[in-house]
Amino acid sequence: MNGESEQGGISHKAVDLFVAGAIMALASLVMYDSQRIGAKWAFDGPQAGYFPFYVGLIMFMASLVTFSLALVSKKSRRVFVDSARFRSVLAIFVPSAVYIGGIYLLGIYVASTIFLSFFMRVHGGYRVQTIAPVALGVPAFLFILFEKWFLVPLPKGPVEALFGY
């Protein structure tokens, strides 16, 4: 792994601390809610929060160890991900998030077509002749597979409604 590049980016230590901290916060939430519903012993056995409370406790302790180890770690210059690589991660993450939002509005088939075309155009630099068969063919195949063969309805939007689905 060559995570040692020094051209800026997010530090490994910071992310390690952040994640351990987040797990500790989550563990506190788990313990708090378990306390609320009762983590003690009722007349007929353990209460609903009994088991999760200890799960939260162990989770908190384990992350406290990770947090402390990260804090004293000497490898402070190690980079979690450098800026260039982080940009390429975002290059697929952001469109994916927009795509999932798009499924709400347009249904999965239309959203997939747009998503595939966008990605192939922007990141692959393909021409329309290459994009069209993939971006139209994949959703069409999925439509036949799910709606016709397996009879599993997937989210549909206004365009499918025009065709009576």
């Binding site: 490994h12 992310v15 351990a20 797990i23 989550l26 563990a27 939430l29 788990v30 809610d33 378990s34 519903i37 012993w41 007929d44 353990p46 609903a48 929060g49 009994y50 088991f51 999760p52 799960v55 939260g56 162990i58 989770m59 384990a62 992350s63 160890v65 990770t66 180890l69 979690f80 991900v81 690589r85 982080f86 390429s88 991660v89 290059a91 697929i92 469109p95 994916s96 795509y99 999932i100 499924i103 709400y104 999965i108 997939s112 998503f115 595939l116 990605f119 192939m120 692959g124 393909y126 993939v134 994949v138 959703p139 999925l142 799910f146 397996f150 599993v152 309805p153 997937l154 989210p155």
Partner: protein, 500 residues
């Protein structure tokens, strides 16, 4: 023994129907495809396809799904050898000698060795399942809640002890899984837990969504980061190469056997296929007279990890079927499938659903034979699929993951959740948090909790019940040793300086 054989033959009758062999073929082909593509692996591949099998008959469904798993195990080797890119984590060790062989123009030989070794590993593992599983199941019939909790405890402790990741991170990841499993209605009292007023949360977190996100989306993000461009070696396998490799392979019987045994052990105790493959490679390197030349393209260096990986992957089904405890994330997904079809895995499965169990075991034999033939004959196709650029295949995989997540409960919230788990998967992988304990805890959380609570009710709140007899005490003792293993090993290294 004779009983097992009789049951097995009955199983072959169940598995050998025209329809089931068809599902087997489809499963293997899909599995190899999944194994070859980045971002789709055994666990999330099976998770995505699981909803499609809800309407199928359970025996056919599990035959198809388990064949996807065998296919994925075979498929991982193809990318390792031809492209130096492990398609699956357990085929990382295969790249060490497989890729140098391919570069020297011996790709056909390397692939034949890999596939044949995989097949041998699976064969040993399924023999172990055939003869050991009924015994384990019969033995486990005597288990009460404390024994079951002790076995769960052992499973999770062995993760801490065997894992290469930092123990604190393994524990945190595991507890996160338990906490997520606890969200929703409490199965005993019916009280909602940790839903914080959000009504949709009452369903809890579905582990299928978590698997698709953690392994699928997480892997895509990692692949994107590494900026993969596939530069592969072309492969030709013909009958002559296969035959010549087969003639050479028996020379490495000791390596194969050792690999198979390491694999079976690591699969049954949930070490998993990945550490098994590394361990077997390491052992082969130490014991082989060609040891120092490992890494330059030794066929033995392909035989060792592949045998172990496939043996571990296969034998992971033994604890899944007999105790209801999966030995690997993919076995966990299969277990989830059993639960959805209304089959409670565990010792009673062998009594109440004989057809199902033995049909599945017979299909492991058949599936691996079919798999070996298919991969040996179709390698060039898969290599061609790998040459499709990532800017096409990447978004297609995301679309498939989204559909897979949606179809689990027909819920859009799950698709958003999948993306969220994807981010967790990406961050956890980069920070060395292991994902397998999280998934297993999420699957087993409710069962482990109810075993614990039942034990507590029996003992009126005293944990002394876990040492109340030799059996449960022994299992707990073993578990504690494994849990403290990182400390023990650390102390040992300090006291006795390592010989080099």
């Amino acid at each position: 023994m004779a009983e097992s054989l009789e049951a097995l033959f009955h199983g072959f009758a169940v598995a050998m129907t025209f329809k089931n062999v068809g599902f087997m073929l489809i499963g293997i082909l899909l599995g190899v495809l999944i194994g070859v593509l980045p971002g789709l692996g055994g666990a999330n591949g099976v998770a995505i396809l699981l909803p499609l099998t809800f309407s199928m008959e359970p025996t056919s469904a599990i035959i198809m799904l388990s064949c996807i798993y065998w296919g994925a195990l075979f498929g991982g080797a193809i990318t390792s050898v031809l492209f130096n890119i492990p398609g699956e984590p357990w085929s990382v060790a295969t790249t060490f000698d497989g890729y140098p062989m391919a570069r020297d123009g011996r790709a056909g030989e390397a692939l034949t060795a890999a596939f044949t070794s995989s097949f041998f590993g699976a064969l040993v593992a399924v023999l172990v399942i055939t003869f050991l599983a009924p015994l384990v199941a019969k033995f486990a019939l005597r288990f009460g809640p404390p024994e079951f909790f002790a076995v769960y405890f052992l499973t999770f402790c062995s993760f801490v002890g065997m894992s290469k990741e930092p123990p604190a991170k393994t524990v945190a990841s595991m507890m996160l899984g338990f906490a997520l499993a606890a969200v929703g209605l409490d199965t005993v009292t019916g009280q909602p837990r940790m839903i914080f007023g959000v009504y949709e949360m009452i369903r809890g977190f579905d582990f299928l969504i978590a698997v698709i996100g953690l392994f699928g989306i997480g892997e895509i993000l990692l692949t994107m980061e590494e900026g993969l461009s596939f530069k592969g070696v072309s492969a030709k396998i013909n009958a002559r190469v296969v035959w010549q490799t087969w003639k050479e392979l028996p020379k490495y019987w000791a390596t194969s056997l050792r690999g198979a045994l390491v694999g079976c052990w690591m699969g049954i105790t949930p070490g998993g296929a990945t550490p098994a493959s590394f361990m077997s490679y390491g052992l082969a390197k130490r014991f082989s007279k060609d040891g120092p030349q490992f890494g330059t393209g030794k066929i033995e260096g392909v035989v060792a990890p592949e045998t172990a990986a496939h043996a571990a992957g296969t034998s992971a089904l033994l604890p899944m079927l007999t105790l209801g405890i999966p030995g690997s994330p993919t076995a966990a997904v299969l277990l989830g499938g059993l639960l959805i079809w209304g089959l409670q895995p565990g010792p009673l499965l062998f009594v109440e659903h004989k057809d199902f169990v033995w049909g599945l075991i017979a299909s492991i034999y058949l599936g691996n034979i079919v798999g070996l033939i298919i991969v040996l004959t179709t390698v060039p196709w898969w290599a061609a699929i790998l040459r499709i650029p990532f800017s096409i295949i990447g978004p297609v995989i995301i679309v498939i993951c989204a559909i897979g997540a949606f179809t689990v409960h027909n819920a859009m919230l799950d698709v958003a959740m999948m993306l969220f788990f994807g981010v967790i998967g990406y961050a956890f992988k980069k920070l060395n948090y292991p994902l397998a304990p999280l998934v297993l805890a999420l699957v087993l959380g409710d069962m482990a909790e109810s075993a614990f609570r039942q034990s507590m009710i029996v003992s009126k709140g005293s944990i002394a019940i876990f040492w109340s007899n030799g059996l449960v005490g022994g299992i707990m003792g073993l578990a504690l040793i494994l849990l403290l293993w990182p400390l023990i090993a650390g102390a040992k290294n300090k006291l006795i300086p390592k010989r080099t």
